[in-house]
């Protein structure tokens, strides 16, 4: 039975941080028709997700750790 999920959570978050999808430029206008509505999630929505927020906190703490380690 799993009693300590910390390692799994940490691993999953690290993987999610690595596999962050790159932004694609979506053309706003089609040739003849009206401007397309952007169906993909905007960057702001992505930031509002808890996992992304936590990833940003972890990145900050890691950079601090690196600073301490490297002097």
């Amino acid at each position: 039975m799993l009693t300590n999920p910390t390692a799994i959570m940490h691993q999953n978050l690290s993987m999610a941080m690595k596999n962050t999808p790159e932004e694609k430029e979506v053309s706003k206008n089609t040739l003849m028709g009206p401007p397309k509505k952007q169906m993909t999630k905007t960057k702001e929505d992505d930031i509002l997700q808890p996992s992304r927020r936590i990833a940003s906190y972890i990145e900050t703490i890691r950079s601090k750790r690196e600073e301490i380690k490297n002097g």
Binding site: N4, T6, H10, L13, P50, I54, I58, I61
Partner: protein, 175 residues
């Protein structure tokens, strides 16, 4: 030692004992005090930064207890106190791990993170891999010996034989 012998051997809670209290009587059955990740971190960070907690934390880490265990214990305790929900606890676990490692690094204390556990292989798997490696090594040794013996005449004879069999051109029909 004598006291330990006097204790009943089966002193665990019986199944369903947690349901014997009224609903809402326990802190974790009440609405959580901190409902967001930020609120929960605001609760943890000043505590972790305090000198008393830091000293205790470093002592625990120096004893060899993994960071993951400490972080999990902390969040589990807070869930039991009704500080935050289990979900928020799961979300802040990686942050707690990083924070504890940051504190340990800044104090230059050696610690075991507990994150490398998954990389460990079971002993049986290692034994299996070693035995397979040995078998493969023995096989290659045997084949090398045969090749060394056959090196001179046998190879030349086999080449001659092959050449005789392929008298025709590349496009000729086989026998």
């Amino acid at each position: 030692m004598a006291d330990m012998m006097m204790q009943p051997p089966l002193d665990a809670p019986i199944p369903g004992q947690s349901l014997t209290h009224e609903l809402g009587a326990r802190p974790w059955q009440q609405p959580a005090q901190y409902t967001t990740v930020e609120d929960a971190l605001d609760y943890y960070i000043p505590r972790l930064e305090s000198e008393e907690v830091t000293n205790q934390l470093l002592d625990v880490l120096e004893m060899g207890i993994p960071v993951t265990t400490v972080a999990n214990t902390m969040q589990l305790g807070s869930v039991m106190e009704g500080k935050h929900s289990v979900d928020v606890g799961m979300l802040i676990l990686p942050v707690l791990v990083e924070l504890i490692m940051l504190i340990a690094d800044s104090a230059k204390v050696e610690y075991t993170s507990g994150l490398e556990k998954d990389k460990k292989m079971r002993g049986s798997l290692v034994d299996l891999a070693v035995s397979k490696f040995k078998e493969d090594k023995d096989k290659t040794k045997d084949s090398d010996i045969v090749e060394e013996k056959d090196d001179g005449k046998l190879v030349a004879d086999s080449m001659k034989q092959a050449a005789e069999e392929r008298v025709g051109g590349l496009m000729s029909r086989g026998a």
